[in-house]
């Protein structure tokens, strides 16, 4: 690359990329940047964690900015200097979460090995162009090891919302029969509910974008729900299918309401709520499994075994022989 081009790119990034962070969506992702991906360990559902010097596990989420899972930047991209970090453990206790910029990039970390979902929120409030922006980036981090047992799993699958602390959030409704081992897969119908102060919000704009930039926009219904079907985003050759290939999606929700007031002494005319929720899904089972072949094999085995038993029985049959006993003998 020529020096002139490098300077132009640098100028572009300086003016546009930095400015973009304020208008782009902030979201929490469990996918590490490529250059450090080998150093990160992954748990259930691709949850990333690192082990500290003290041997304790720390769950790790990358703060990213952008509207598409792959293109989003890993950068120091929060809108405010000190965003509020809200982490709730599966037993309902608030635990400490840290935002740091270091070896692992710009990350949000927290400690915890309790079985169940950790609700993690990055919450910002700032005034810009007479608008009070309320930005909530949410992640549901599953902590589960099968070796720890599955006691009370159904209860731990229930949603928790924090109406007082988190005014705006996206909730992914569980699919029927979902448990800790369930992975969303392409073809699944997933409903996202938008809540404003705990109440379902109608007419909120919801957008779902996938790894390959497939986008669908919907408006929430009367129950605050927007139902999407996760599209197949992965079409390798049959021999190269990796059934554990995790694809990310990003859901964003927006809602603007006209309301004047002031925040930290700065007046505003309207409030703009923006929420994000990251997620992941795997290829559909129908891509690499066959019901028909299974059924054919099952049906074929049954008469085959029956035939074997029949011939075995026939083979063991002895020809009829008559014995005569004389009482005199």
């Amino acid at each position: 690359m020529r020096l002139k081009d490098r300077i132009l790119i640098a100028i572009f990034l300086l003016f546009f990329a930095e400015g973009a962070s304020a208008s782009e969506n902030i979201w929490l992702s469990n996918t590490p940047p490529k250059k450090i991906s080998k150093k990160i360990r992954h748990g259930m559902h691709g949850v990333s964690f690192i082990k500290g010097n003290d041997g304790r596990e720390k769950k790790i989420l990358w703060i990213r900015s952008g509207s598409f899972p792959v293109e989003s930047q890993y950068a120091n991209c929060t809108n405010t200097k000190n965003p509020v970090i809200f982490v709730c453990s599966p037993d309902g206790k608030l635990i400490k979460g840290n935002v740091s910029h270091g070896l692992w990039g710009h990350v949000l970390t927290f400690e915890g090995n309790m079985e169940g979902f950790y609700n993690v929120y990055l919450f910002e409030r700032f005034v810009e162009e007479e608008t009070l922006n309320i930005v909530v980036a949410k992640a549901e981090v599953l902590s589960h090891k099968c070796s720890n047992g599955h006691a009370g799993m159904r209860k731990k699958m229930l949603h928790r919302t924090f109406n007082e602390e988190i005014p705006f959030e996206i909730v992914r409704e569980r699919i029927p029969g979902e448990d800790f081992h369930t992975f969303l897969s392409s073809g699944d119908d997933v409903t996202f509910k938008v809540l404003l102060k705990g109440a379902p919000l109608e007419y909120s704009k919801v957008m779902l974008s996938t790894q390959k930039r497939w986008v669908n926009n919907l408006k929430t219904d009367i129950n605050g729900g927007a139902a999407f079907q996760l599209v197949g985003d992965y079409y390798p050759r049959f021999k190269e299918i990796n059934k554990r290939n995790i694809h990310n999606f990003l859901v964003t929700a927006e809602y603007t309401v006209k309301k004047s007031g002031s925040y930290q002494g700065i007046p505003y005319e309207r409030i703009h709520y923006a929420g994000t929720l990251g997620g992941s899904y795997i290829p559909s089972k129908t891509m690499y499994t066959s019901y028909l072949y299974g059924l054919i094999l099952l049906i074929f085995v049954m008469p085959a075994v029956a035939t074997l038993i029949y011939f075995y029985r026939e083979h063991r049959k002895r020809p009829y022989k008559e014995y005569a006993f004389r009482e005199k003998d």
Binding site: K145, C146, S147, N148, G149, H150, A151, R154, G177, F238, I241, N242, K243, K285, Y288, T289, S290, Y291, Y293, G294, L295, L297, L298, I299, F300, V301, M302, P303, A304, V305, A306, I309, R313
Partner: protein, 328 residues
């Protein structure tokens, strides 16, 4: 009291067992729909692949709990493994092998298939003694594999490379319960062959083959799968010290062989053993058909906490078998 005891001893326990099995089947196959979860460490095939299951077969959590690195064995993983085994042991210590004979849904299905064969008037099969002795070892091999394979998925065994994750959970992949029990809730999703990798394809195809053999085998041989069941091998650990026991008063035994003839599994030792008092064998499922078929007063006896609850009586034998003339 004597009257109650006589009533029980002379009653038809097979009939009671038939209805008890139906109730247990409903509980373990459909219980989940009524938010019933008895335990996750059940010594019976309450299959978690069936969405309506009212509990979980212990073999599933056992395989999962063994799927961990060596270092976790000395940590919380080891504690959970121990806790799980203790819960399982409690179940085993109380009801021993009666879990197989009275509560196992897969066993119940096999009994229903046997009933169908009887209706069709098709002769049943029995193994020869040598074949029986050879086949019964399979359950110990399966038990060994279901312990060693999960360990080999997480750890390198004998410096060999780790096993593919597609083999996990090894027993569930080939267990007919995974495929058969969901069918009772209208779920056919377990009938499939996974073509994603060679291991996955082999394991899922093996599952289909075993299920096919299960159906046909159970049709010709009573309790066909029980002879190969690793749960039966695991439960045998507790049967000698369990609260529920099957005792034999050797002095009263005439070695008529009725007990062997009615045994669904085909255990010969029950008639031949004249040394041991507690005669629960590794293949026994405590169905108590042998007690029913024994014509000797008090020769075979079922005790719970050393209190006799059901014993063989001459009157009972005549009432059950000779009057109906049906020792089958």
């Amino acid at each position: 009291m004597k009257k109650i005891r006589a009533f029980i001893n002379n009653s038809n326990i097979s009939k009671f067992r038939f209805y008890f099995q139906i109730a247990a089947f409903v509980l373990f196959v459909y219980g989940g729909y009524f938010y019933v979860t008895i335990s996750e460490k059940l010594p019976t095939f309450a299959c978690p692949f069936n969405k309506g299951s009212g509990g979980t077969c212990y073999l599933m959590p056992l395989q999962h709990q063994l799927h961990m690195t060596w270092s976790r064995f000395i940590g919380p993983g080891g504690i959970h493994l121990l806790k799980g085994f203790l819960v399982f042991a409690c179940f085993g210590l109380v009801f021993s092998k009666a879990w197989c004979g009275y509560l196992c849904p897969l066993g119940t299905i096999q009994d229903w298939i046997t009933k169908l064969r009887k209706v069709l008037h098709i002769r049943f099969s029995k193994y020869g003694e040598t074949t029986f002795k050879g086949l019964k070892k399979i359950k110990y091999i399966l038990l060994f594999l279901l312990i060693i394979i999960p360990l080999g998925v997480s750890n390198s065994l004998l410096w060999l490379p780790k096993f593919s994750h597609d083999i996990f959970p090894p027993f569930c992949k080939i267990c007919p319960g995974r495929i058969v029990l969901p069918l009772f809730t209208g779920d056919t999703s377990q009938i499939y062959i996974d073509f994603s990798t060679k291991t996955a394809m082999t394991m899922t195809a093996l599952g289909m083959i075993v299920t096919g053999i299960f159906f046909t085998g159970s049709f010709f041989k009573k309790r066909f799968f029980c002879l190969f069941c690793p749960m039966s091998a695991l439960l045998y650990i507790f049967s000698k010290v369990a609260i529920l026991r099957l005792n034999k008063n050797v002095a009263k035994c005439t070695r008529c062989g009725n007990c062997y003839r009615v045994c669904d599994v085909g255990i010969k030792e029950i008639a031949d053993d004249v040394i041991n008092k507690n005669i629960v064998k590794d293949d026994c499922m405590l169905c108590l058909k042998c007690v029913e078929a024994c014509p000797e007063e008090g020769c075979l006896e079922v005790s719970f906490f050393n209190i006799p609850v059901f014993m063989s009586t001459e009157t009972g034998f005549f009432k059950r078998y000779c009057l109906r003339n049906e020792i089958k």
